[in-house]
């Protein structure tokens, strides 16, 4: 092994767990990531899984690092297959340096012949303790041993995790994790796996959460108190999170009979004065598009969390893609303004979801939070959220007897009343309407109302989030990305170490910030990195900023980019 690789490993170890659905990958992942974070290590985890409840092959990649880390990599330092036959599932990612840990008949898989094996009989050890059920915890202990974690801290965590179970179960789990830890201690371990850097107490105190949880917390912080949705992967995790905390946080969460009902309920709730959210994906959102148009016409605020997955139609239900940008941009018949946020980090997922509620209310429009399976299902430690930067701005007025819901104003924003608050009547209509909200076919009124709605689209331009420029200010090459690819592009550029190249990340993809054309024209070479086949954001930039981006690095295999993919792709483009 080369010294440089070894040095790199000391700073950054990747552990891949793979197994059949329902066979414990999640338990091992859950325990291990929490143990690592609680011990003070930076940790990141992302998974890929099949659309099935049992069988198949799923994998989770966990990175432990001396620095903050939040991007997926292909490299596997440690591979822990939990079921026979599952090594083949990740065979393309094996390298001569990969260490395989597990049962003899599982690790000695054909695909792993040339790789280093550490045989740990998880099941045998577990059976000796009290049952096969403990084998996942034995595996946790074995990995903790490989990494050289403090055994007392590991045991303490396991004890805490199972605290609500019976004494027997707690004792057996403690025995299991200890036995796994001890089992690897007896083996001749390869160099470079043990974590040699110091953990940090500050990291131990950070949050560890997923993209779905960040979106959910952002919604609550945004004043969301009504959620109506229909379950659909990968958006369901946001629905589940809000449902679990709904009663305690004052959020009414209702599973609608279909997505059409979901968005129409949300719009009704907003009309009555609630802050409403729908969370959906792919075909579910396609069903909502008439409702999006209704929100545009009624000028009713609604926040739409759209967690993208590969289409068309049912596509790949549990995989990731960034291919619904154009769908979200153009969803709904007719012309009306909207806002599209696309968070790239957990912080952005929180603050932009929060902001979406404020801006939807301010401009009385649909506001989108565009995520994807990758962002929703991945998690890592982050410093936390500052609630003083997440104030709820309400834009509701008490109505007077002569109140007119669609009063014509210069900026297009009519003061918004709600029924039962004030002396006026609040009338809204999906037909073209007059200032009072009554049906009209007066075509002069029609023109005035179109102008009014579109004027809001101009007014909201002062609230556009500026794209984040990372790297040298006097760049010659510019790598543009949006949404969930923030960290993967950032880490790839750090690895490439080019002093002439900067990254430009958009967390608001529509409307585009006015700096866009200037930032792009400043570069000699530009490339968009995005997770769809046709370069949708590149097209959007051309259309709305009038700037051409030279190249596009795209992916649409359902797995999204790894750091290696981006390094390789950009190297080729810039060579």
């Amino acid at each position: 092994m080369r010294v440089t690789q070894q040095a790199a490993r000391k700073q950054d170890v990747s552990i891949v767990l793979c197994g059949q659905a329902g066979q414990g990958v999640q338990t091992v992942e859950h325990l291990l990531t929490r143990i690592l974070k609680a011990a003070g290590y930076h940790v990141f985890a992302t998974k890929e899984y099949m659309s099935r409840v049992r069988g198949g092959a799923n994998s989770t990649t966990i990175r432990v690092c001396s620095k903050r880390v939040a991007a997926p990599i292909s490299r596997m330092d440690i591979l822990v297959p939990l079921n026979k036959g599952t090594v083949a599932h990740v065979a393309e990612r094996l390298s001569p340096e990969t260490v395989l840990v597990g049962e003899r008949e599982v690790v000695a898989d054909e695909a792993a012949e040339s790789h280093r094996l550490l045989v740990v009989p998880f099941t045998q050890i577990a059976s000796d303790i009290g049952g096969k059920i403990y084998s996942n915890v034995v595996a946790v202990g074995a990995i903790a041993g490989l990494l050289g974690l403090d055994p007392e801290a590991v045991v303490a965590y396991v004890r805490r995790f199972f605290a609500k179970k019976s004494e027997d179960i707690v004792a057996n789990n403690v025995k299991a994790v200890q036995a796994g830890y001890d089992a690897v201690g007896k083996l001749d371990l390869p160099d470079g796996l043990k974590l040699t850097f110091k953990p940090s107490a500050k990291v131990a105190d950070e949050m560890l959460l997923s993209g779905a949880e960040a979106v959910g917390l952002g919604a609550i912080a945004g004043g969301c108190n009504f959620v109506s949705s229909y379950p659909m992967s990968p958006s369901t995790n946001v629905l589940t999170f809000l449902a679990q905390h709904g009663l305690e946080q004052g959020v009414l969460v209702e599973q609608a009979e279909d997505e059409i009902a979901a968005i129409n309920m949300a719009i009704g709730a907003a009309y009555a004065g609630a802050r409403a959210l729908v969370t959906t994906s792919g075909g579910g959102f396609a069903l909502m598009t008439e409702g999006v148009s209704l929100a545009g016409m009624l000028e009713c605020p609604v926040v739409i969390h759209l967690a993208q997955r590969p289409g068309p139609a049912t596509g790949l239900p549990t995989r990731t893609e960034q291919a619904d940008l154009e769908l979200a941009l153009y969803a709904g018949h007719g012309e009306f303004p909207r806002i599209l946020f696309a968070p790239g980090t957990l912080e952005q997922a929180f603050y932009l979801t929060q902001r979406a509620f404020n801006l939807a209310d301010k401009y009385q429009i649909p506001a989108f939070v565009l995520t994807d399976e990758y962002l929703i299902d991945s998690y890592y430690n982050c410093k936390g959220f500052d609630l003083s930067k997440a104030k709820v701005d309400r834009h509701i007025v008490k109505t007077a007897p002569d109140y007119r819901r669609y009063k014509l104003t210069k900026n297009g924003i009519s003061p918004r009343g709600i029924p039962g608050y004030g002396e006026g009547l609040v009338a809204v209509d999906s037909d073209e309407h007059d200032e009072e909200g009554h049906i009209t076919e007066d075509l002069n009124v029609r023109v005035a109302m179109v102008d009014k709605r579109l004027a809001k689209g101009e007014s909201l331009k002062k609230d556009i989030v500026r794209p984040e420029l990372i790297g040298p200010k006097n760049y010659k090459k510019l790598v543009i990305c949006w949404g969930s690819t923030y960290h993967v592009v950032r880490e790839a550029l750090a690895e490439l170490g080019r002093t002439d190249t900067a990254m430009l990340h958009y967390s608001q993809v529509y409307p585009l910030h006015s700096s866009t054309a200037g930032l792009i024209r400043k570069a000699r070479r530009t490339v968009v990195v995005e997770g769809n086949a046709t370069g949708q954001f590149r097209k959007l930039i051309r259309l709305y900023a009038g700037a051409d981006v030279d190249e596009a690095l795209v992916t649409y295999d359902g797995l999204g980019f790894t750091v290696e993919d981006v390094v390789e792709g950009l190297t080729e483009i810039f060579s």
Binding site: I35, K37, A38, Y157, R160, F161, D205, M207, L208, L209, E213, L217, I220, A221, G223, N225, F226, H245, L247, E248, Q249, G250, L252, E254, A256, E257, I260, A261, N264, M265, I267, G268, A269, Y271, A272, G273, A274, A276, E290, G291, L294, L298, G384, F385, L387, I396, I418, P419, G420, Y421, G424, L425, V426, A427, V428, D429, S430, D431, H438, I439
Partner: protein, 288 residues
């Protein structure tokens, strides 16, 4: 309360002269006035169609939404502010056709709203095609050989789903209809009033005379608490019963959500509980 409070004055009404919608509008205003409902506490929710224009013709708050989609927003409006009286009103095509799925699940959900459905067995606004309640054999420019589908039976469906309140009225009889409306609006929970209404322009089969010849009122011998009897009455086709078929008191959707268990304030009057949110955020620091 006088019906004046609901009057819109001299407005242009888009319904044909002689349309059954006119007496329904007048009767509804009378029922609301007799119930002392303040227009500022009343929200009418409708979809699309001739009947769905009704909110424009009486003074109240209204949400005239999409075709077939009156029930989801009506449910949400009541859930967000239970102080409001919410009436979802549209035609048979809107409620039973385009909105059929919402009709089914709204009954299961049981929000405290009144659902008035103008049932003229034909599509008016799109000029004379079959509706879900059109009788078999009814000829239209689209159903050229006559309707070949079984008519939808909204009352039987509602009773099968154990709806909270199920009634049928006829626009021709304003006095009885007013009493049925009042009972439905007063009822706590989802209340369906299917109301027969002739379409003088597009339905030459189910005319004022046809309805007169084909309906009768349920008498005192019918027990609205008896679900099986109500179902039997709902499936009669020779002569069609009118009146309150079934009443089944139960908790409303708003009550079942538990959102008002400890706090009577409407959702629209509540703010984020910063302490509770901070506590939730904090749980992510303590790995659990």
């Amino acid at each position: 309360m006088a019906t004046d409070v609901f009057e819109m004055g001299d407005i242009d009404i888009a319904w044909c002269p002689g349309c059954g919608n006119h007496p329904i509008l007048k009767t509804l205003k009378e029922a609301l006035a007799e119930l002392q409902i303040d227009p500022r506490q009343l929200v009418m929710v409708s979809g699309i169609g001739q009947a769905a224009k009704i909110p424009h013709y009486l003074k109240c708050h209204f949400f005239n939404g999409l075709h077939g989609r009156a029930l989801p927003p009506a449910t949400a409006i009541k859930a967000v502010n239970p102080k409001l009286t919410v009436i979802a009103e549209s035609g048979d095509g809107d409620m039973y056709g385009e909105g059929g799925n919402h009709f089914i699940h709204c009954i299961r959900r049981n929000p405290d709203i009144t659902n008035i459905v103008h049932d003229n067995m034909v599509y008016g606004l799109t000029k004379g095609q079959a509706s879900p309640t059109s009788r078999r054999g009814f000829k239209t420019p689209v159903q050229v050989a006559g309707v070949i589908l079984e008519p939808f039976n909204p009352l039987a469906v509602a009773i099968a789903l154990d709806a909270s309140f199920v009634a049928r009225a006829s626009s021709g009889d304003r006095e009885q209809t007013k009493e049925i409306f009042k009972k439905a609006i007063r009822h706590k929970g989802y209340a369906l009033v299917d109301i027969f209404q002739p379409c003088v322009t597009f339905n030459k089969l189910n005319t004022y005379q046809w309805f007169k010849d084909h309906v009768y009122y349920l008498d005192d011998s019918h027990d609205p608490a008896d679900r099986m009897a109500a179902f039997a009455k709902a499936t009669e086709t020779d002569r069609l019963p009118l009146g309150v078929f079934y009443v089944n008191p139960k908790n409303s959707f708003e009550e079942n959500t538990q959102m008002y268990r400890d706090d009577p304030r409407p959702l629209c009057e509540r703010d984020v509980d910063a302490a509770k949110l901070a506590a939730l955020i904090d749980t992510f620091r303590r790995a659990g």
